[in-house]
Symmetry: none
Subunit: 224 residues, 4 copies
């Protein structure tokens, strides 16, 4: 009673799904999430609006998958680098350098996926991604400490990893933002500066004497 799905049908289905995701990606890459209403996505994908809902239960699911797809790849690449046999420093540098380079290649898309807020429901995916990336770096850190490559005094590698991700992202923002002027050379410089910053942060011994006092109450009291 059921007919064999021809390869051609399979292909059409697959290509529709991907065209929809692709259209979403294109639009988000062009103008952020606000440029990607379902109707626009459908139009770009050369598909009827309803068709989108054949492949995704809701727009949020579509966006979540878009973000997840992009993020999985990025985290995957970082993980790949993290597992190479080289020194922890090399691997950390490599992971950050690759991540940053790719983000710059993707520009607006990366910016949207990394920085731009969406629906809270979808946002959770974004945060998970940041966390996943942090976890990859965390593992490199732990390994580096175990090998004696990085100093061990830190009590919270998780916090360090988050800071690394943040340094990397924010270091990029100026060059990812829609306003930034393109400029290959500046991009590469910026990437290397970021890598250097991160390595210093995990390699330093923190010997610098810092008065550990809290922020003055007066300053905290000022209204936010």
């Amino acid at each position: 009673m059921s007919y064999r799905r021809t390869e051609r049908t399979e292909a059409r289905l697959a290509s529709n799904r991907e065209r929809i995701l692709g259209a979403a990606r294109t639009l988000v890459a062009k103008g952020g999430f606000s440029e990607a209403p379902v109707v626009a996505i459908a139009t770009v994908a050369r598909v009827a609006t309803g068709t989108v809902y054949t492949y995704f239960p809701s727009k949020n699911h579509l966006l979540a998958e878009l973000i997840r797809t992009i993020c999985d790849r990025e985290v995957g690449i970082a993980a790949q680098i993290a597992e190479s046999g080289r020194s922890a420093g090399d691997r950390l540098a490599g992971a950050i350098r690759t991540f940053a380079s790719r983000a710059i290649l993707g520009r607006r898309l990366a910016y949207a996926v990394i920085v731009e807020p969406v629906d809270p429901e979808v946002d959770r995916v974004r945060l998970q991604y940041r966390r996943a990336l942090a976890r990859v770096l965390e593992n490199i850190l732990l390994d580096g400490i175990a090998r004696g490559e990085f100093p061990r005094q830190r009590h919270d590698v998780e916090a360090d990893a988050a800071c690394l991700v943040g340094a990397c992202l924010e270091g990029l923002v100026a060059r990812l933002s829609p306003d930034a002027f393109p400029g290959e050379a500046k991009d590469q410089d910026r990437i290397e500066m970021i890598v250097a910053f991160c390595l210093r942060a995990v390699s330093g011994d923190g010997a610098t004497a810092v008065t550990p006092e809290r922020a003055t109450p007066a300053m905290l009291r000022q209204r936010l």
Copy 2:
């Protein structure tokens, strides 16, 4: 038809304007930008919807000003710290510590202003703020280098400053996000970890040998 503005009128105007900004702040602090439609802002400000447009040409202008107000204060506080007579390390630590502490006190509001996306038009203000904060840190860095407190090998202090801001924000994100449970102790710990991370990053001499090779072309070629 024009008449002399009495002082009382002036006062009312000022107070209206401020009540509107205050209402916006309150609502954003409660539930992010999506909880702050113009009608709601007007209601909370005990003002008619149309009145909002007497004081602000558009909602975007209102939000931009809200963000600017908050940010000015934060940047101002950081600047104040930057100008104290202490060591560069102390000042850097102080600025970061204060910024982070205040962000945690403000939680939802800080999260919205720092992380939550809005209209692209408004977003520019957010970036400016991040940039301004970076500039304050940049000055501390430059001063620290001049004094010989920080190593000088860096060629791009601007990038470092951005990374500092990023490390700080991202280090906080987990604790700023609407989902996070409050927890005083953890907050303080996290803040100190962030401070330490930042100081290492600017104090380290970057002696760690890192193979400076680029990301492999294969990895860059993978679609974003």
Copy 3:
């Protein structure tokens, strides 16, 4: 700070609200609930779609109010009759006769409000109305029994009241349905037949011998 609402403004507001309700009534009366999407209601009311939502939090609320308005009036009229000083029989006949007459005057609208299903949320109002009408009749019944006008053997006046309402409604359906041919004379006859039916039902002494056996199991077993 607040301006006095002019009478004219009041009038406009009131008239808008009523025009919206009126438009809904008109459309429902013309083709049932399915002919009354919000856009159509707004158009007929010479109002923008959004305006509808100024007056009603949702379409369901609007419909519920429409039904409630109509029903309140009907129940009110029946109640008025129920409270007159006449005999219970007269009052019962009067209430039923009036209700039936008015339903026939309203035809399609009455049909929709009484018979046509809508959203479950709205439907509850319809059932309440039927119940309210039944309660009015119930009181007349109770009074009639107390006065010795109706025989007392009934143990469930509530059920009787429901049956009265049902007899009345169903007796009318043929003449209310969109397909029915108009015909003043037939209408009046039908109404009197219904009144007579109802009076017999509450006046009869039920002396007729009826074998009280249940439906045969075989018949109950047949699939519905």
Copy 4:
């Protein structure tokens, strides 16, 4: 291209058609008409959506047939009772009792078929059914009058029959509505109350004096 229909094909067709109707019945029984979109019906019937349109020209036709099927059975059962050799009163009581009992057994389905509105096109079928049921009762009435079992003064047996159906349905509504709590005992009581009500209505001699005046013009004039 046309080929002889094998018996097996016939069987499959029959079973498809019936499975579709069965699926519709199941879904309507579960959640009313709104729970029965074509896709869902097809899924439950283990058939492709398009297949539904092989057997039914439109969804309305499908629903109409569903209602017709159910109703035919009910009317058939009532007719069977009507033709037994017993007294008219017994037969009337039997028919009503059986109809009510079965409706209560079917609950949600009965409620949907009897009370829930659908498309006007489909609604006509519902009315036909009510009419058919009325006709069966009408015949019992006529026979009862002919036999002298029921008083003869009525001039419109058709109206009486409609009232009987109405009394029966409305008497049940409270117990058929999706909100009602099941309760075997109450169900049986209610059924007997309905039977008694109906018998009184057709057996009474209508001797009760009722002022036969019309509804007052004032009351009729109030807007519906």
